[in-house]
């Protein structure tokens, strides 16, 4: 078949193109939040003293970090799905959450005596954190990878890593409402490991799933 024949066939295929990417991302985002919320409320639920801790700086700080991560990664992932995307302008926004964490760690080290650092870092529940952040993030990650597959990212692995970060940010936001450890030292260690796990999974998953 030569190229002109192919063009005849393509031009005759007049079925309307599918949903717009904007519609797909809107639905994906809503679906990811609903599924993550569902897994969270079935398996964990918020911590019992949430009404009291909701006024403490350390507790609220967790949400600032995780929401900053989720938002920046989601926006970058959306852009990455266009084939001609130029991500250089967006990647700096991904540095916001890590910078906040670093700032939080520094303040915590200044505020807390040195002999309490290790206790704060180890916390009470790191294994729970490492289990449930990936678990809550799994369904959002799957949805994001499907949306990327529907798009046309010219850098599939990078787009998958962004999907993992976005899913990790969403999962960490939910998990933070359950987690009894509020110290930035804990967040900087265990949340980071859990989110990076999802990022790795997203990168590998995209190589297999996001091919076009």
């Amino acid at each position: 078949m030569d190229t002109n024949d192919l063009i005849k066939a393509l031009a005759a295929d007049t079925r309307r193109p599918g949903f717009s990417m904007n519609a797909v991302w809107f639905a994906t985002c809503a679906g990811a939040l609903v599924l993550a919320g569902l897994v969270f409320s079935v398996l964990l639920g918020p911590r019992p003293d949430i009404a009291i801790v909701a006024e403490t700086v350390r507790f609220l700080f967790k949400f600032v970090v995780t929401i900053a991560l989720a938002a920046a990664a989601f926006v970058a992932m959306r852009v990455a799905a266009w084939p001609e995307a130029d991500l250089r302008k967006l990647l700096p926004y991904l540095a916001i959450a890590p910078a906040l964490v670093v700032g939080g760690v520094v303040l915590e080290l200044l505020a807390v005596p040195q002999d309490a650092w290790a206790t704060r870092l180890i916390g009470t529940n790191s294994r729970l954190c490492l289990t449930f952040i990936p678990l809550i993030g799994l369904a959002p990650l799957g949805l994001f990878l499907l949306a990327l597959r529907y798009g046309a990212p010219s850098r599939p692995a990078l787009s998958g890593a962004l999907a993992g970060l976005a899913a990790g940010g969403i999962a960490a936001t939910f998990y933070a409402a359950h987690c009894p450890d509020d110290s930035p030292l804990f967040v900087a260690t265990w949340y980071t490991i859990a989110v990076l796990g999802l990022t790795l999974l997203g990168t590998l998953g995209a190589r297999w799933l996001v091919r076009w």
Binding site: T3, L10, F19, S154
Partner: protein, 178 residues
Amino acid sequence: MSGADDEHLAGLLRGSVAGDEKAYADFLRDAAVLIRSWARRWAVGGGIDAEDIVQEALLAVHVKRHTWRNDAPVIPWLHAIARHKFVDAVRRQARRPTVGIEEFEETLASAETEKARDWEIGRALEGLAPGQRSVVNAISIEGCSVAETAKRLDMNETAVRVALHRGLAAIARRFGRD
């Protein structure tokens, strides 16, 4: 690559999204010329046929046309898709066992008889289900309209359109896969 070219292509593509079959054919022909000029430059000395890249990129443009935004420039979008397909082809090439010099000579010889040579798309076409293949064949190689194809294959027009749509999507998926 001037702004006027892009405007022209964008106009055709907008028309085709609105259902103008003729505008879409014009768009694809112009896009093929552009992609061919890029692909020839990329494929120099690499053992990759530029026309394979053109065909694969056109298929990708077709199945991914929802990733073009109405207000975005067309040429960078086309370029990115074509480049992606070229990189893909290079990667596949690298995975294949290296060819002996005899085979290479054969390729050189057949380059002169361009018309007789079948591109990778032919192989993808052979992999289709028989029903889809006869529809795609009739409309592309034999140049039939949808109505003529329906009459000849004793199908209704909707079934022809569905078979064409699915067949092309399947070719796009299989194109060049080992």
